[in-house]
């Protein structure tokens, strides 16, 4: 993984010092809350329901065991002993008092971490495939480009106050595990006929009130030109994106409204930068820079040395426990280096919110990374952790250790490996709670045999229309809404993140009026029952929904409504 240079290190420390100055001015009354807010947001500090929330950037999801231990230390020292991993591969703390905010950033800077641009109307933390650099279906490793983009976007002076937030995701594999269609810019690394590397560039995807999938703006931007191309996109957006209406300010609205004119404006701007601007071509990436950054992402030498060993294809010897075999099936993933696997550490278990980890669990995960994965972890889009460099010969020992630490729930990709935002328990924006809904669904579907029978399915829960829980892209999506001060939940089906399993990215369709909180597990069960009733051999939930249509599912869910909700559905 990337290791900081002296420059990177002093840059992050300078940022922490700058924030301390701003915080002190705020606490002493020189800087009003209104004027402090955008500054703290661009350092990751929200103020939510109970206390400030700090969102720590985990650049493209890569984390060292040393960094994870420091996050555990921060959780104990400043928070209430836990943190929450997000769909954007970040980590959130929920209870750090504002007057300790600068101290927390200093503690992060000690391990080359920060909260820079994890919020605010700027380019956010860049996300990618959690299997980047190790996936067996990878065309090009996206991480060197992620890092170059991270550096380029960090404190870019022109693009710190865009009309709205701006999210970039990259993938370099055949399978899209980064949901690039749902991002303001989605980048897919490809090779052209000549074998040259470039990007397919999608612009204007986004969730929220108006879910829109990104538009293909260029089918091949040579890799060396990508910073200039993104500069062109951002400049067009900064100048022409709407600022009169918060709900119409994302670039997706501009792209939708302008269509081909937007694409033409980006192309014009791109050529103007290169052909007319003083130093405009200086942001073409030289091969030497790509090589310099790429060297950070070479597989550890010990992994390559071990790669000559024969791959143990079976892994589970005869008589291995069923739980181990299930874990191998769900939590262990193919690897491009022979004799290795990637292993998901599940953060979906009883008694804890999806994506949550206590300080002790963070330490335990760091320990597993030290023992089994070259001191490296990844944060996944599905709110789990992943060990990227596990030897097949270590799998049994890892399973036992992961089970001991509570990370071995063998349900990756199944119904209860669901995505959920923190919701109304924490978030000041939420209309309804997400965590109790997630817990109720997990309790309803606590039988592994049933979960395995249901098979691959994405269930996503958001506590409000801001869609942090990506409900639009869930095969089943659940959205918290507020009706007369009570919590209700709108259910959608048929959404897709854009993966092969789920099909082309698309938002799900709403099935009738909202459900009361205690009806949600029944409604979900009705959808699952309907799938089981209609499915043909080998068909997954999402395929059955597409083949059979929404109506049958809606009717089944409506039949489980009670009291007022049923009256409303009939109306």
């Amino acid at each position: 993984m990337y290791s900081y240079s002296a420059f990177d290190r002093q840059f992050v420390r300078a940022r922490a010092a700058q924030f301390r100055d701003q915080l002190q001015r705020h606490l002493s009354g020189q800087l009003s809350e209104d004027e402090f807010r955008p500054l703290r947001l661009q350092n990751g500090w929200y103020v939510q329901r109970h206390a400030p929330m700090l969102r720590v950037a985990v650049p493209y999801g890569e984390l060292s065991s040393r960094q994870l231990r420091q996050l555990a230390w921060i959780a104990r020292r400043f928070d209430r002993g836990y943190g929450h991993f997000t769909t954007r591969q970040n980590l959130q703390f929920n209870w750090i008092p504002l007057h300790q905010a600068a101290d927390a950033l200093d503690a992060l800077a000690e391990v080359d971490m920060h909260g820079i641009q994890t919020s605010g109307n700027c380019v956010r933390n860049i996300t990618t495939d959690a299997l980047a650099g190790i996936a067996d279906d990878e065309v090009v490793d996206p991480r060197p480009y992620c890092e170059i983009l991270r550096q380029w976007s960090a404190l870019h002076p022109e693009f710190a106050f865009l009309p709205r937030k701006f999210k970039i995701a990259l993938t370099g594999a055949a399978e899209d595990r980064a949901a690039i269609g749902w991002h303001d810019i989605g980048l897919q690394l490809v090779k052209n006929h000549a074998g040259e590397v470039g990007f397919r560039v999608f612009v204007g995807g986004g969730m929220g009130r108006t879910p829109i999938v990104g538009t293909l703006v260029s089918s091949f931007v040579p890799w060396a030109q990508i910073l200039v191309f993104i500069e062109a996109i951002l400049r067009v957006y900064n100048r022409y994106g709407r600022r009169d209406n918060l709900y119409k300010a994302r670039i997706k609205i501009l792209v939708k409204a302008e269509g081909e004119r937007f694409v033409a404006a980006v192309q014009r701007e791109f050529h103007a930068i290169l052909e007319r601007d003083a130093a405009g071509a200086e942001h073409l990436i030289p091969p030497s820079e790509l090589e310099r950054v790429a060297r950070h992402f070479e597989p550890p030498a010990v992994v390559l040395a071990h790669a000559t060993q024969a791959d143990d294809g079976s892994m589970a010897e005869a008589g291995a426990p069923q739980a181990f075999r299930r874990w191998l099936e769900r939590n262990v993933h193919p690897h491009r280096v022979r004799g290795h696997r990637a292993v998901t550490l599940s953060l979906k278990r009883a008694g804890q919110a999806p994506g949550d980890a206590t300080a002790d669990q963070m330490d335990a995960a760091a320990e597993l990374a030290d023992r089994f994965s070259q001191r490296e972890l990844r944060v996944t889009h599905d709110q789990n952790l992943l060990l990227p460099w596990v030897r097949t010969s270590d799998l049994r020992a890892l399973w036992e250790a992961a089970r001991e630490a509570g990370f071995a729930t063998p349900t990756i990709g199944l119904l209860t490996d669901l995505i959920a935002c923190p919701g109304g328990d924490f978030c000041g924006l939420a209309n309804a709670r997400s965590i109790p809904i997630a817990a109720a669904i997990r309790e309803r579907f606590d039988d592994f045999d049933r979960l395995y029978d249901i098979g691959d399915i994405d269930l996503h829960i958001s506590g409000c229309i801001n869609s942090c829980g990506h409900h639009h892209s869930g095969h089943i999506g659940i959205l918290g809404v507020d009706k007369d001060g009570a919590e209700w939940y709108q259910v959608t089906i048929g959404g897709s993140d854009g993966s092969t399993l789920s099909g082309a990215a698309t938002p799900g369709k709403v099935i009738g009026p909202s459900f009361a909180a205690d009806e949600v597990p029944d409604a979900v069960e009705a959808l699952i029952d309907t799938y089981e009733l209609h499915r043909i051999a080998g068909e997954r939930f999402i395929d059955t929904v597409r083949r059979v249509g929404v109506a049958a599912f809606r009717a089944a869910a409506d039949a489980r409504r009670r009291a007022t909700a049923q009256t409303e559905a009939a109306a």
């Binding site: 960090a154 693009f159 865009l162 030289p286």
Partner: protein, 166 residues
């Protein structure tokens, strides 16, 4: 007195020579015109009398390429400090249109904007009256360098020699 640190001029409103031009006023040095005023008076404005123009932040500065050589100052506006359009205008004025006169930030201009302003091509700021020049100067001193090129340092870090050092 207005002060510079090292390229940024913090304008003292009381000492500022630039004044809006009354509709019927004769051309005078350091008159600040709206774009509409300039368009009606450009042909009669004496080339020897320094003139400045204040631009709304939705103005496409690329349409003004022919006018720029005649302007000693361009005032760009921040109606709200979080409205970032003027950063792009400044950048285009400098890097694309090679404008060399003063580019001044006006409107809701706050101390914490200074590093962004300076790096985007502004060289003067008329800050909101309650803002401290000392704090603004301090705000310009936190960072020893940046990754991307800007109007102070046109080369991105990877194109500079020191990038090779660890």
């Amino acid at each position: 007195m207005s002060t510079r640190t090292p390229e940024m001029l913090f304008v003292d409103a009381a000492q500022d020579p630039w004044r809006p031009l009354g509709d019927d006023a004769v051309p005078s040095a350091h008159a600040l015109l709206t774009l509409a005023q300039w368009s009606t008076r450009r042909d009669s404005w004496p080339t020897s009398v320094p003139v400045g123009v204040i631009l709304g932040n939705a103005v496409d500065v690329e349409t003004l390429a022919d006018e720029l050589p005649r302007w000693s100052m361009v005032a760009l506006q921040f109606p709200k400090w979080t409205d970032g359009r003027a950063y792009s205008q400044a950048r285009l004025l400098r890097a694309r249109l090679r404008y060399t006169g003063q580019i001044r930030a006006t409107g809701e201009v706050l101390v914490d904007m200074q590093p962004l302003l300076q790096r985007s091509g502004f060289d003067a700021a008329l800050m909101r009256a309650d803002q401290s020049v000392d704090v603004a100067r301090r705000a310009l001193r936190f960072f020893a360098g940046h990754y991307q090129g800007d109007l102070l340092q046109p080369l991105p870090r990877f194109a500079r020699a020191e990038a090779c050092t660890p």
